[in-house]
Symmetry: C2
């Protein structure tokens, strides 16, 4: 059977990531890993989920927890999320909320919603690797979104021909991989650019709740609502997730956007997987309702402390010529190494010598540039391992 | 914001189903419904799932139940499924198994894997509505698969130009919506046709376990393995589900196919939603391992009895000129009404008079034919409601 001839054209773009393959090699007990962008499992509210599951599987008010349910999602969870969105400057109703199986699914659906082959998606250089993967299935071109530059709308437009620019994708708060936050002026400029190009904005808010210091900046969607008066007139599509705040293993995220967009995504979800797990939506609602407000401060305290440990260690250990970001939240610090230092080579060498893991930065660049960058995650380790790991990184860099 | 101009071309094919809208109107307590193709929630092993969730969220061997996990799925569940596949004539390894979020997701992924716009998918006339919906997103043409006819491979091939036939999709056992099973000779002819066209076969086995009488026929995949010697040489892609056997609310299904196909689907899943809920896969494994063998006979007994009740009532109540299938399993009986009787009109009239619900058959036909057919589900009701509902259907038909 020659599968090549019956595969869709899009499949030629889906390849195993070298980086993931390399990181698999590094998943060994003697390695100190700053690679994975994963939350600390010790911080999951496991007991709360256990109690919620017991309730969802025995209380008669949840008699439908094992049954099929509607594609838009479980009503009380959509209500709760709509209320939370209101608290961060996004007044909306449950008609503006779709429950997805994690925010990765939201990215897949938004690519599917807007991208025809040859269309352009504007993304950061670097940007979240999983967004590139999700959009890639719909065969777009990627162009570099840089709200800080003076690049004119017309230039983005011309570069997209004969396709069309469809959306700008970004994480505005403590972005993966850089940890950088877009300031209010940048958000306004991005909205101006999107207006001029008449495109959507996908605001990936996976890390938004995890702010450790500084002042919260309203979501891009909130800023647009302030301009337009109603979410239903907005072009910003907000994607949220419980993966970083409660737990990723239940796969619960959401999209918050104009009701007309949500309506189309509901049809798409019906055709693609019917709905997200009924039981997991009910359990997530119970845990969010009863524990979210108490749980978030403890996450912030722990992750904020670990970020400080990493920044302190970097201050101590990094050789001349290495610079890094100082994120106000999220999970990542982004290092720029001296010109000519290659992050992927450094990682390969680390496997043989210092035994620390990180993600080479070129993986986050659609054009493979950024070779002298690396991403470190600070979520998993306490002082001893952070100090030891960053000291090893310092030695590795000085030996290169 | 004018969304129309930034939507992908595929979105023009995603429309709300009239049928679903009509059925929403019929979701009222005084209506006797034979419409939904859903399992009886009273038969869900809720207690077993509750115990499994408690274990998965407290036993230290499941410490990663709330964490991210691998895209191919939870190892012990893939092992268990591979063993089960062996029992029905499909020797395979976990490398031949991908866990999906329900079998609907498998259909979406398989469309995404193979269909470029303008390619042809061969489907039954009628066929599962959700398969048409899933494939539609990839802009195929549909052609009529009829393994019982003398239609030559060349004719299928010519009809697909300038695209290509990519696969034949069918449910071989107690198909939704007809309840009909393809016999062994039909399976062999289908394999011959697929060989000649050099296309894949998607075997949707959602109902396969629910056989109430007659002799089990090996899956198409088993028949092909018998020809080729190994699953890795096969063109048949088998899609299975726990939705009809354990419960749909956890969204756990699987694909069983050549390892090269599974490898491509793993990349696709990684980009589309990372993985299916870790916790739900662990709980499903525990429940399947400990309860599947005991649970299935009780489902068969109950659903088999309800099928008999419906067939008996049809024998008594249907007027001259109405014919129907006698399924050996699954959930559905398919009625052919006298020429000129329109199932959709009958349903609209039922809303005003007899107050029973069913699905008009044209919805299952890609070309909108089959207007004189309707689908009845027999899974939900016991004798009193079946007798009353089918008597009402008889009156409705005699009044038309």
């Amino acid at each position: 059977m020659n599968w090549e001839q019956i595969l869709a054209g899009r499949m030629s773009r889906m390849k195993a990531s070298e980086i993931r393959e390399l990181l698999k090699l590094l998943d060994q007990p003697d390695i100190i890993s700053f690679a994975g962008g994963i939350p600390d499992p010790k911080l999951f509210p496991a007991e709360a989920f256990r109690d919620a599951m017991t309730t969802a599987l025995s209380d008669s008010q949840y008699a439908t927890s094992l049954q099929y349910s509607v594609s838009e999602g479980y009503g009380p969870l959509r209500d709760w999320i709509a209320d939370q969105m209101g608290l961060i400057g996004v007044p909306c109703t449950p008609d503006n909320i779709l429950i997805t199986s994690g925010s990765q699914q939201a990215l897949d659906y938004l690519g599917k919603l807007m991208l025809s082959p040859g269309d352009t998606a504007l993304v950061g250089w670097p940007t979240y690797l999983g967004a590139l993967g999700a959009f890639n299935a719909y065969e777009p071109r990627f162009d570099r979104l840089d709200p800080g530059s003076n690049r004119e709308a017309q230039d983005y437009h011309d570069a997209a021909a004969p396709g069309r620019v469809k959306f700008a994708y970004l994480s505005a708060d403590f972005a993966n991989p850089t940890g950088v936050t877009l300031d209010q002026a940048g958000r306004e400029r991005l909205l101006d650019l999107a207006e001029e190009l008449d495109i959507a904005i996908i605001e990936d808010a996976a890390y938004q709740t995890l702010r450790y210091d500084g002042t919260a900046i309203p979501p891009i969607l909130a800023t647009e609502i302030a301009r337009k008066g109603s979410i239903d007139a907005c072009r910003t599509i907000y994607s949220g997730s419980f993966s970083k705040t409660l737990a990723p293993g239940l796969r619960i995220g959401w999209v918050c956007a104009a009701a007309s967009v949500i309506g189309r995504l509901v049809l798409m979800k019906q055709a693609a997987d019917l709905h997200t797990s009924t039981l997991n939506q009910i359990a997530t609602h119970i845990v969010a309702r009863d524990h979210f407000a108490d749980h978030i401060p403890s996450l912030r305290e722990t992750y904020g402390r670990r970020r400080d440990l990493m920044l302190d260690a970097l201050d101590r250990e990094m050789p001349e010529g290495v610079t890094w970001t100082r994120p106000e939240g999220g999970m990542f610090v982004w290092l720029t190494l001296p010109d000519g230092t290659d992050g992927a080579e450094l990682l390969a060498r680390s496997l043989k010598t210092e035994r620390i893991a990180f993600v080479p930065g070129h993986a986050f660049h659609p054009d493979g540039t950024g070779r002298n960058t690396i991403r470190l995650s600070f979520t998993l380790h306490e002082k001893e391992l952070v100090d030891e790991g960053i000291a090893r990184l310092g030695r590795l860099l000085r030996a290169s």
